[in-house]
Subunit: 111 residues, 2 copies
DNA sequence: CGTTCATATGAATGACTGTTCATATTATAG
DNA sequence: CTATAATATGAACAGTCATTCATATGAACG
């Protein structure tokens, strides 16, 4: 095995702590599911209730609820109750800018 | 079931095509693994060979190679051969800006 | 050529996770 | 209080994927 002490020395300080690393990768995994991405795209136009999301994406109410929980736990969406109905909306602009960054990347690679 | 034709109407046009959606979520899934994220962090300081990456992160050579393939297939890293050694480096600044966006998000949520 | 080092690849296994089904909340209306 | 609509939750199943082990490729050197 060849030597690379110098290379190793360079970045020992950089790596984020376990807690942050875990949160960070968890966040990206949440973005990594087509269904959730569709939901986020849908919400980028404005708030929607569980019912409408399910109808729009052709998925069961239960599946939607499960995914909304995931999205909420990672602070990507927020909710608001109005009677029996719960409306979900994107939590903030961060969500969109992350998706856009990814979007640009995959578009570049199409060449 | 209550009515939401108006809501639905709003965003039918938005959703990206299947191909793009698939590429996009695939990309985020790649960012969603702690090992790969550690590799990307390591490379953010400069190129490294497979050997050094494995040593640094305490993982087997085979595992590193497998992951480098994933990273390369999604254009997150590029490689350069020098004799028997293969050096990997981040493909472009995009990678770092995506990670940073995510980083900011998880940091905000710590409050 | 044969050997050795660095890397790549294929198959198998175990862990994780999205969906479904059944059931539980929560809220409104009568 | 009962019925019903909207949403949430828990358990089970199925598909995905990261790691490991064994083996293959590729390059330098004698």
């Amino acid at each position: 095995m060849h030597d690379h002490r110098a290379t190793l020395e360079r970045m020992r300080s950089l790596t984020p702590d376990e807690e942050t690393l875990s949160r960070l990768t968890r966040l990206f995994r949440v973005f990594g599911d087509p269904t959730r991405m569709r939901i986020l795209y849908a919400l980028s136009r404005g708030e929607m209730c569980v019912c409408a999301i399910g109808e729009y994406l052709g998925m069961e109410q239960s599946a939607v609820s499960h995914q909304m929980k995931v999205l909420k736990d990672t602070y990507l969406v927020k909710s608001r109750r109005e009677g029996k109905t719960v409306y979900y909306a994107l939590a903030d602009d961060h969500v969109q800018s992350i998706v856009c960054q990814g979007y640009e990347h995959v578009c570049e690679d199409k060449e």
